[in-house]
């Protein structure tokens, strides 16, 4: 009677696609990291640092990030609503269009169609495509939740609903533009106003693409893989509402000491400090959940992915607010410290949690066990070490850059020229490439493990659910 179909095929399709785009994004990342210390690796016009860097982070945010979010959200939504997707065929077309969209995005960015809006570089025809893709996703997710078979909505569904709504608002507003031909447009907003709109978007994209959907995964897969219930429902409620409330005030902490009105900067800095509380609400909820049985760290291989992931989320959400303070910002802003910060979040928190979620899903839908826990453990240690080498070297070189830019002689004149400071970065940039390589090898172990798990199992379309 309850033998209905979960659309595992679409979930799998998104996961495989996101892994593919993840590889593309990581290869571009490694390549540009070498360009930083070997400029001869630029091949104009298409393969220069300025164009490729956008493909690196848009490829990973939109391709790996959103791809995984689409697939894993569908998986979670079906299980938490105890029903198939409301529109399974729509979800399938969504998958195909997603891949076409990302492919066109990569090509257009290499061709130089770049609006220069951070993580909103795509030109207007592709913006419309992204909006259509998001609407397809939203209709299915919201519709399925409305028609759910379980009255209470679990925490993950809150985060998913917030993600679906917030990203739509952010993306549409920030992309309002004046078209000037098919491949060019100008922002509807100009100057300082453009800056304020764009960082409202840019920072909240971190909030609603790299935080809330990942927290949805964390709250779903941590109890699933450990068998331990979430420590505090009340803490989840407080953390959720304060997070989605406070995030929207904080964008201007990216614009400290710029000509943006001071009061907007100050309000943003204040709310940024406040944001530590809800972030750590989720961190503590995660710790106390596993705290009821720490032996899970040894007996269940996925636990350490989630706990390390949430730990990096915790570190990220303390480091970030610290950077917003004027006294810290004046030293590290515009330096390599910032990529170090960003990559702790993306490589440490997001990738750790997403890969662990995929480790959970693939054996489930293929009716098998993970191919090798040993390979998963090697993956874990390599991405952890690679990420730490990356972030720590960038923090050191960032502080050095900031300090040397400010250094003065006894007579008050500047001590170093710009190029003299630049030259001191090379050893760190080379180390960063090594960190990136180690991370990449770790990801290859992950991909191998997932691929072998798929080979040994058989994808099931129908799952009986009581």
């Amino acid at each position: 009677m309850s033998d209905y179909q979960y659309d595992n095929q679409t979930v799998k399709g998104f996961i495989v696609s996101s892994i593919f785009w993840g590889v593309v994004g990581i290869v571009f990342g490694l390549w540009i990291s070498v360009q930083m210390w070997m400029p001869s690796l630029n091949f104009p016009p298409y393969f220069t640092f300025g164009r490729m860097r956008v493909v690196h982070y848009d490829g990973l945010a939109y391709g790996l990030g959103i791809g995984a979010i689409f697939g894993i959200t569908y998986y979670i939504v079906m299980r938490l609503t105890k029903r198939p997707l409301l529109f399974p065929k729509l979800a399938r077309s969504h998958l195909y269009l997603f891949n076409v969209g990302i492919l066109l995005a990569v090509i257009s960015l290499l061709a130089g169609m770049n609006t220069s809006k951070f993580v909103g570089e795509l030109e207007w025809p592709l913006v419309i495509a992204v909006v259509i893709l998001w609407v397809m996703f939203a209709v299915n997710v919201i519709g399925t939740i409305i028609k759910r078979k379980d009255e209470q909505m679990y925490i993950s569904l809150w985060y998913i609903l917030a993600t679906v709504i917030a990203v739509a608002v952010l993306y549409i507003v920030n992309n309002l533009s004046i078209p000037a031909g098919w491949t060019k447009s100008y922002h509807l907003f100009s100057g300082v106003n453009s800056a304020n709109v764009e960082w409202w978007y840019g920072h909240n994209l971190v909030g609603f693409l790299l935080t809330t959907p990942i927290l949805a995964m964390f709250y779903y897969f941590l109890p699933k893989s450990t068998g331990l219930p979430i420590y505090s429902h009340r803490l989840s409620i407080v953390a959720f509402w304060s997070l989605v409330f406070a995030y929207l005030w904080t964008g201007a902490h990216h614009l400290v000491y710029t000509p943006l009105p001071d009061w907007i900067q100050t309000v943003a800095i204040a709310f940024t400090i406040f944001l530590i509380a809800p972030s750590w609400g989720s961190v503590m909820n995660g710790y106390y959940t596993v705290g009821s049985d720490w032996s899970k760290m040894q007996t269940n291989y996925l636990t350490k992915f989630f706990i390390l992931g949430i730990t990096f989320y915790g570190l990220q959400t303390v480091q970030g607010p610290t950077q917003g303070l004027r006294v810290v910002s004046q030293l590290i802003h515009y330096t390599d410290w910032v990529p170090g910060h960003v990559h702790m979040g993306t490589m440490g928190w997001v990738t750790m949690t997403v890969t662990a979620s995929i480790y959970y899903i693939i054996p489930k839908i293929y009716n098998t066990k993970i191919f090798s826990e040993k390979v998963a453990n090697i993956h874990f240690w390599l991405v952890l070490i690679g990420q730490l080498i990356f972030s720590i070297t960038m923090w050191i070189t960032g502080i050095q850059q900031g300090a040397l830019w400010k250094a003065t002689n006894a007579d008050g004149s500047l001590k170093y020229t710009f190029v003299e400071v630049l030259a001191k970065n090379y050893p760190y940039w080379q180390l960063r490439t090594i960190g990136g390589l180690i991370f990449t090898v770790g990801m290859l172990f992950f991909i191998y493990n997932i691929f072998m798990t798929m080979r040994q199992g058989k994808l099931s379309l129908a799952e009986s659910k009581a």
Binding site: P39, L188, S190, G191, Y334, K406
Partner: protein, 194 residues
């Protein structure tokens, strides 16, 4: 009551939108409606067709990845780059191009700092001028002619004034000429401090 909302997705969604919009309205929408966010210096002029073409190229090549265009009001920063940036300097920038990373130096006061020939030599081979530079070579832009039709559309979209004579001159210009013309005008609306 408090638990009811977690059983009603539509109400939950509406409340979420409201919560998200509070900060959005307070820090983004309301400022936008005030003059504070639309300042314009008296000296600031719209870009010419050649300069706009250069700015488009600056965006196309992702120069923003390594160069900022905002000098902070900090002593050593003003010493290194020049007068700190004013809100009214950017009224014609859609979007703003302040950037967020200085792999290369800030360019907010690059206009008029060096002659055109300096830029030509530098773009051609940055390492010949600064052996330790990691900037890519951009000399290839000398081969590419400008497209006056596209530039006219861009001028219209920005609502910048231009003449047909001005456009006619563009077809003999290269992308490199345009980029240099743009660099030479950046930051020049502010009189340089001593």
């Amino acid at each position: 009551m408090s638990d009811e909302i977690y059983k009603k997705p539509i109400i939950f969604a509406i409340v979420s939108v409201a919560v998200i919009l509070i900060g959005t309205v307070a820090t983004m929408v309301i400022p936008m409606l005030t003059d504070e966010m639309h300042p314009k210096l008296a000296n600031l002029k719209p870009y010419t067709a050649l300069q706009l073409a250069g700015k488009d190229i600056y965006q196309r090549e992702g120069c923003i990845a390594c160069h900022t265009q905002t000098v902070r009001p900090l002593k050593t920063e003003v010493m290194r780059y020049g007068e700190y940036s004013k809100a009214g300097e950017f009224a014609y920038d859609r979007p703003f191009l302040w950037g967020a990373k200085r792999t290369g130096p800030d360019l907010a006061r690059i206009g008029g700092k060096y002659p055109d020939e300096w830029h030509e030599i530098h773009f051609d081979n940055p390492q010949a001028m600064y052996p330790e530079s990691n900037m890519p070579v951009y000399g290839w832009m000398k081969q590419n002619k400008l497209d006056p039709t596209a530039i006219e559309a861009h001028m219209k979209a920005n609502d910048f004034p231009y003449t047909q004579e001005e456009l006619a001159l563009l077809k003999d210009k290269t992308e490199l000429d345009a980029l240099i013309a743009y660099l030479q005008v950046i930051g020049t609306a502010v009189t340089k401090a001593q």
